[in-house]
Amino acid sequence: MLLVIVDQDRGVLDELSLQAITFANSVDPSAPLVGLVVGASGREVADTLGRFGFTDVYLATAPDLNDYSAAACGRAAAELVSTLAPTAVIAIGSQRGNEILAHLGAILGLPVATECTSLSLGSPTHVVRARWAGNLMESAELHGSPAICSVVSHLAPPAAAMNQTALVTEFFPNFTDTDLAGQVRSRIAESEGGTSLADAKVIVSGGRGVGAEGFGPLEELAHLLAGTVGCSRVVTSAGWRPHAEQVGQTGTKVAPDLYIACGISGATQHLAGCRNSKTIVAINTDPDSPIMAVADYAIVGDLHQILPALVAATRTARGI
């Protein structure tokens, strides 16, 4: 039996978690799939999970658990592990998925393999996992049972819905005060309007080569292409642009239709965030910079000359 942790937020299913179901099925197609949903607000989510192939779904609730708590999710999973003895516990490699598994591993005293791309169960279990945000792959042995793993997001497609239902069982884990203390207390709406980086179809991104005062033409071009501005870490750590615009390993991972990298060298940690863009354009003075190796198109030259002219030409092409 495989246990899949399905995240939900105030009654809304986390779509990424559906990828963990597909991954679990590929690990052991013959094993029954059991799902865990935490929080009374997830009752409807739990009721509809059967269609994704679960035989059983467990819903963990407590009167004092009113919102998401990573520690509480880990505790609930630990209780299920002790009653059901699954061979593996699988979650999606999102912030929540990974932190829930970390709590589970800490409670059970077991190792956790995050960001896996492959898992073959046994003793020991063999995993392949992403280090350096996917710039390096690691083969490793994972000892102990169950195998606790998260799967890299966007590796597997989301599970398809079928005409099926599962038995939903509510249970009441023994949450500690500490588990309950970690709940979300409130939410604040993010102030910035406009398209968020992760959803943008076009990103005009700037690096050190742009300079503190140079982002005007990038904003104009982004506006003309109905996109948004991104940047490298050099730019955010200099305080030129807000961190919400940073693309890369410790910023946002993006996959727009068009990514225009202006004055960005293409360090592995930056590429980790933009490599999956459909089309990459580089504008750089250095024809040997690493960004050139991943770009589909490039203009070699000074962005301070190229960008204003590109803005004008784009405006003309759009007839405005």
């Binding site: 937020d9 998401y68 990573a70 520690a71 912030q95 990974n98 932190e99 970390a102 709590h103 591993g105 409670i107 077991l110 190792p111 956790v112 995050t114 350096w132 945000a133 710039n135 390096l136 792959m137 690691e138 083969s139 042995e141 000892h143 102990g144 500490t178 979300v184 207390r185 939410r187 709406a189 179809k201 292409l225 996109g227 955010t236 750590s237 961190h243 940073q246 390993q249 410790t250 910023g251 239709d257 360090a267 592995t268 089309t279 024809p287 690493p290 190796a293 991943v294 770009a295 589909d296 198109y297 490039a298 070699v300 030259g301 000359q305 002219a309 590109l310 030409a313 784009t314 092409a317």
Partner: protein, 251 residues
């Protein structure tokens, strides 16, 4: 307030990783070293909290002798003292690392009110050392924070989640894992560097337990060999680029 920040020395590669001959690790012979931006932010958060509330800060790293460089970098931006848990360079998995940190905290004789980590290390990306330490010390933990405040003995943490920011509150003593963006790290000043040389760095040499997540080998993923089309040098490439915009349907 007493704060501990835990950091990890990692190689800094530019374009692509090259591997050692046995395929078990990155060839670091020609690389510089650094810590993750997450940890740089954790250090900055610690320094700011103590500037605001008073107290003292300690930085800890488990790593090779040369990790003293990363400890001194943290001392140069205002951390008061360092702890180096010296290893022989073999990989310590997250459980082993957390265990060594818990032991070092006990040995330090300090009762840190707040223990800060990066959300995940740059290299292993395990996402779990801080949370494991919190469980071992029976403390509450908040992870993935991009905003950290303390008021009246309460840790208030924030992090983005879709179109909102989630807000958390737990009482100190607590553990928090921090992400890049939580603060803009300051650069070390020259006097800061000089002061850092005189600050104490305590050493101990923990014994590595068997890894339960044991790295066997590493590989660099095949990059999709792209044919880069150079559209031109300088402004001469612009009309071709506008044609590209048109052909992929963004104008």
């Amino acid at each position: 307030m007493e704060i501990l920040v835990c950091i990890k020395r990692v190689p800094l590669s530019g374009a692509k990783f090259s591997l050692t001959a046995d395929g078990r690790d990155i060839d670091t012979s020609r690389l510089g070293f650094t810590v993750s931006p997450h940890e740089e932010c954790a250090v900055e958060v610690a320094v700011r909290l103590v500037e605001q509330h008073g107290g003292s800060t300690t930085v800890l790293s488990l790593g090779v002798e040369d990790a003293e460089e990363q400890i001194r970098d943290a001392l140069a931006v205002g951390i008061d003292e360092g702890i180096l848990l010296v290893t022989d360079g073999e990989e310590w998995d997250a459980q082993a690392t957390a265990g060594a940190i818990v032991d070092a905290i006990a040995e330090s004789g300090k009762s840190f009110d707040l223990i800060l980590f990066g959300n995940e290390s740059a290299d292993a990306s395990g996402n779990q050392v801080g949370i494991r330490v919190a469980h071992a010390l029976s403390r509450p933990t908040l992870s993935g924070l991009k905003g950290v405040q303390v008021s009246d003995g309460v840790l208030v943490g924030e992090r983005p989640a879709g179109s909102v920011r989630e807000v958390f509150e737990v009482s100190l003593p607590a553990v928090a894992t921090v992400k890049d963006g939580a603060a803009i790290p300051r650069y070390p000043s020259v006097p800061g560097r000089i002061r850092a040389k005189k600050k104490p760095v305590h050493r101990s040499t923990p014994t590595r337990p068997l890894s339960l997540l044991a790295k066997q080998s590493v590989s660099v993923p095949e990059s999709v060999g792209k044919q880069t089309k150079i559209l031109g040098s300088g402004p001469e490439g612009i009309s071709a680029l506008v044609d590209v915009f048109r052909s992929i349907g963004v104008i």
